[in-house]
Amino acid sequence: MQLQMNLVEEACKELYIRALKVLPDDIKAGINKLDRAETDARAQVVLKTMITNISVAEREDNLLCQDTGLPIYNVKIGSNVQYDGMALKAAIRKGCERATMEYPLRSSVVHPITRKNNHTSCGIDMPAIHIDFSDKPETVEIEMVPKGSGSENNSFLKMAIPADGINGVKAFVIESVVSAGGKTCPPTIVGVGVGGTSDQCVAMAKRAATRPLGSSCTDEEGAKLEKELSLAVNQLGIGPQGLGGDSTAFAVHVELAHTHITLNPVAVNMQCHSARRARATFTPAGVSYGF
């Protein structure tokens, strides 16, 4: 299959707008589940407002949240796909820029030193583009994640040491969720990276935070840690919007990688309750959209 770059550009424009408007089914189910279980009266009102907002956005065909976030495109290229890598990156960037200018969306992207906004959602190394490979024949998947800043501002890395053990990892996750409080727009998905190098660890935390609800870490030990921490964070009482209650997080997700004998790194990245993402799948039959 030859990947058509005009289709990639169009899809990358469409994906940004779609992601901002319609929440994935797993997130909608997740917030309803939290609402049913919530025991705090104030938290119930907060969750119900969030649920109302989801339907208002769909009814009014509007964006869920005003934060258009930092645009992230995760590309997975299957087997037997022909493409020009630089043209692929350019097409993604163009799609992102067109969504911003044509819709128009608020460009939330500025130069880190001058703080100048080009009003295109693009800049140096932005959108963030991650390219990986899969064994799916003649298939390319592009996932778009607009990452809101409230949650992104509460990102943490600790180069713990082997003597800190797994308890050091667990304690750091709890401390991070407590220190973030209501600033991350809870209930969140708490993404945890364990192991690898420092940069891998942070990237794993981000992947974990944007994984669909209901999915598990493919490593058995990682999956066990997810279950234990998912229960623990919802005992903290932070609640939706940090106003108290049971619903601090939808779940804790863990991604891990083997690490050095002297390292024990742990990273935390959170995704807010408006856990937006959209996916386009390219096959010889055409482009289809989902989450």
Partner: protein, 203 residues
């Protein structure tokens, strides 16, 4: 837990009546303000032509569409999606907003810290919590973008919104030292010890 409908601008007396857990619906005018707006106002000494005395500001940077100036769009902007951002980043601007510009209400999400709590108590102000990430709903409470100042900072301009039935908003920090965030923080600190213990972690 009373509900108040407040027509902006409001007096100090009206603000002093509000207690945490009360709810408020705002009418008339709301100003949009953000990090860059306040950095320019208070660090770069830029003055706004708007009179903010007795008014409410919301921590926001909206999605807007540029349109020709008309009766419906007097500032040349059509609102698309307007919500709120995390207030904590703007903590150090609460006091100057109140002392220099006379602001009495801050609308935002996630709460503010002790410095803001002290300013609210001393000067007569409140923090009204709106639900972060529910901008589609909040946009329906905004009738019009009436005016805009410091628009070179767009989208972090100083916006003047005409609002109708903007709320209910939760009084989360009042002018008597009350703060729901402080209450939750103390509760969480206590619960955290039990959570760490349940994970087998001892200090």
């Amino acid at each position: 837990m009373a509900h108040y409908v407040l027509q902006t601008p409001v007096s100090e007396e009206a603000i002093r009546k509000l207690r945490i857990n009360d709810t408020v619906t705002l009418q008339n005018t709301l100003f949009g303000i953000r990090d860059a707006t306040q950095i320019h106002m208070f660090d770069h000494d830029r003055k706004t032509r708007f009179d903010l005395h007795g008014h409410a500001v919301i921590h926001t940077a909206p999605n807007v569409r540029k349109v020709p100036i008309s009766k419906a769009f007097p500032a040349g902007y059509e609102p698309i999606c307007i919500g709120t951002t995390t207030s904590d980043r703007m903590e150090r601007f609460t006091r100057p907003l109140m002392t220099q510009n006379g602001v009495r209400m801050i609308v935002g999400k996630g709460g503010m810290r002790e410095g803001s709590a002290e300013a609210f108590k001393e000067l007569g102000g409140v923090y009204l919590a709106i639900i972060g990430g529910t901008a589609a709903l909040e946009t329906t409470w905004i009738e019009q973008i009436e005016d805009v100042d410091m628009d070179d900072l767009n989208p972090e301009s100083l916006w003047r919104f005409k609002i109708k039935d903007f709320g209910p908003l939760l009084v989360a920090m009042d002018s008597h030292g009350g703060s729901i965030y402080q209450e939750v923080k103390s509760d969480v600190a206590r619960k955290k010890e039990a959570v760490l213990k349940s994970l087998g972690i001892t200090p």
